[in-house]
């Protein structure tokens, strides 16, 4: 038996979320008296693979074939299921992100395994196998039982944290049985924005709403984001008006994020907006309307004008950074 965790890489590097996943899988493995195995698909250097061992992966299986450069749902899920069978994995863990959502459902059908997506904690009961997840877009928490012998989970980002352990890992290279017909999507073009903090990874997110009034007013938000190493986001009307790209839209119908710190600037705090950000550890709200619902969900609030207050915030943070240095 084993717990298998699929660890995605970004241009050959893992991210904090990969380590969080391995930490999570290792804790489950400990509780079930078995071992956690990490699976990496794509070209990753050995020194990078080794890092997975710091979080408790006892074995790291690397499928480094050049063919697997671009995510192909059919090919990747075939590889993962093959490894899960080979390693007799009872539980397979994915991230609840773009690739996890693409692969976990396919793998679950291949293995006839029940899937619970977006889990937020370790199983609360291993006998019945009960796990909790957010439901109704953050408005409730559901406890779900998986009845099948094999199980697939996707873990919500930032819900578990990192647990470092002694590294006793071994690396194994594996060549799956794949033929050309397993690859069914073809990449034509990649458009990447470089040099910006990625919204779903960010520890701090600076988000603007309709209260910002127009796209020209975004410079202070970008400056604040740059200063804090933060990503920028927006409410839905802002992206609908094309003030900001759709990829920045957070909320029930946009991205769901869970940073440490979320700035809601000129955002009213509609229930659909909160659905995407309510898992943030801290929320700061700035709004001219003291009755704006965002203050019910915020930790810190200022009633005031964003156009005046964001520049002040920037200079205060600059001052703090100077005294720190």
């Amino acid at each position: 038996m084993s717990i298998l965790v699929y660890t995605e890489n970004w241009d050959g590097k893992f991210k904090k979320l990969s380590f969080e996943l391995v930490s999570y899988a290792s804790e489950i493995a400990k509780k079930m008296n078995t071992s956690a195995i990490a699976l990496s698909i794509g070209k990753v250097e050995e020194s990078e693979l080794q890092k997975l061992g710091n979080y408790g992966a006892e074995k790291i299986i690397s499928v480094s074939d050049e063919k697997n450069k671009v995510l192909d749902n059919q090919a990747f899920s075939k590889i993962i299921a093959e490894v899960a069978n080979k390693e007799n994995s009872e539980i397979i863990v994915f991230a609840h992100n773009n690739s996890g959502k693409a692969l976990a459902p396919r793998v679950s059908v291949k293995l006839h395994a029940g899937l619970v997506s977006g889990v937020i904690a370790l199983p609360s009961d291993f006998d019945t196998f009960t796990v909790s997840k957010k439901a109704f877009t953050g408005k409730a928490i559901a406890n779900v039982v998986i009845k099948s012998p094999k199980k697939v989970l996707t873990l919500s980002q930032n819900s578990f944290g990192l647990i470092e352990t002694e590294n006793n890992s071994i690396i194994e290279n594996f060549e799956p049985e794949l033929s050309d017909t397993d690859f069914t999507t073809e990449l034509k073009e990649v458009n990447k924005i470089t040099g910006k903090v990625i919204l779903t990874d960010a520890e701090i997110v600076i988000s603007g709403g309709r209260g910002m009034k127009s796209s020209e007013n975004w410079a202070p938000i970008e400056e604040l984001a740059e200063l804090l190493g933060a990503a920028t986001a927006c409410s839905r009307p802002v992206s609908d008006e094309n003030w900001r790209p759709h990829s920045e839209h957070v909320g029930q119908t946009g991205k769901i994020i869970a940073p440490n710190l979320y700035f809601a600037l000129g955002i009213s705090g509609a229930i659909q907006h909160l659905g995407g950000v309510s898992s943030s550890k801290y929320i700061v709200a700035i709004n001219t309307d003291h009755e704006a619902p965002i203050f019910e969900s915020a930790d810190y609030g200022i009633v005031g004008d964003v156009h005046k207050l964001i520049p002040e915030l920037i200079s205060e943070i600059k001052e703090l950074k100077e005294t720190e240095n």
């Binding site: 671009v70 749902n73 059919q74 773009n98 959502k101 692969l103 976990a104 459902p105 396919r106 679950s108 059908v109 006839h112 029940g114 899937l115 997506s117 977006g118 997840k133 439901a135 109704f136 953050g138 408005k139 409730a140 406890n143 779900v144 039982v145 998986i146 009845k147 069914t184 999507t185 990449l187 034509k188 458009n191 990447k192 924005i193 910006k196 990874d201 520890e203 701090i204 759709h246 990829s247 029930q252 119908t253 991205k255 710190l261 309510s278 550890k281 801290y282 203050f295 969900s297 915020a298 930790d299 810190y300 609030g301 200022i302 005031g304 005046k308 915030l313 205060e316 943070i317 703090l320």
Partner: protein, 247 residues
């Protein structure tokens, strides 16, 4: 070409979420039901493609797994412009069984579109599972879908950008924000016409549920917001630095 849109019948996004039966069941009393927002965008995009490609798309169907209570939502999809609806007559209890049910209807279609998740149980699962049951390609995080000549062009969102991909029909597109901008709303004429369009009730197949939602809780309530005077932005920075320790 035929397009099938999988539709989930979900509570309106402003619904106050309550539970009954000792917190084991979602309380449907007084709930307004809507087409899951992403499914509505998928349908909108399918209609745009049908108009744009001039006869290439012969039919757009919608399917939902649910009891008779899901029919108004399917009628609404017909009023928006779908040609035909299927209701698979059983309760939607688990993603795996829902996908297995839909697979029975989906076999004859070239493009199958599902939303990235349903806004009730947030499963993000049916589209991927369906593609696996049908053993056909799937592309997830789709933010645009186009048909040019005979090529399928798909934008897939990735962290920090997008990829343009192509794949072969039949396939499943799991769509999200961007696939269409504004969902279409039914016109008066659409509502009239929808009454005459077929809404087929399909008997379910036997499948087991692999998961079960056993109980619900409301999230812990937040402590009151600390209000800071607008003349004292420095205090906010101090609190974030020393109390919350996040900057």
């Amino acid at each position: 070409m035929k397009i099938l849109i999988c539709i989930s019948n979900v509570p309106d996004t402003t619904t106050k979420i309550k539970f009954t039966g000792d917190s084991t069941e979602f309380d449907v009393a007084g709930v307004q039901w809507i087409i899951n927002p992403w499914d509505e965008l998928a349908l909108t995009r399918a209609l745009e493609l049908k108009e744009k490609t001039n006869g290439k798309i012969e039919k757009i169907s919608v399917v939902s797994v649910g009891l008779k209570t899901a029919e108004p939502t399917l009628r609404k999809a017909l009023a928006i412009g779908a040609d035909e609806a299927f209701r698979i007559d059983c309760e939607a209890k688990d993603s795996n069984s829902v996908a297995a049910q839909i697979a029975e209807v989906a076999k004859d279609y070239d493009i199958i579109m599902c939303g990235i998740e349903a806004s009730d149980y947030n499963g993000s699962a049916v589209g991927g599972m369906l593609s696996e049951f049908l053993n056909i390609p799937s592309v997830s995080s789709v933010s645009n879908l186009d048909i040019e000549n005979n090529d399928i062009l798909i934008s897939r969102e990735i962290d920090g950008g997008a990829e343009i991909l192509t794949t072969k029909i039949p396939f499943v597109a799991i769509v999200q924000k961007g696939i269409a901008i504004e969902p279409r709303i039914p016109s008066m004429r659409g509502i009239m016409m929808a009454r005459k369009k077929p809404l087929n009730v399909v008997s379910p197949i036997e499948v087991e549920n692999l998961t079960e939602f056993v109980s619900f809780e409301l999230p812990p309530s937040k402590a009151a917001c600390k209000m800071i005077d607008a003349e004292n932005v420095k205090e906010l920075v101090d609190l974030l630095h020393n109390e919350a320790k996040v900057i």
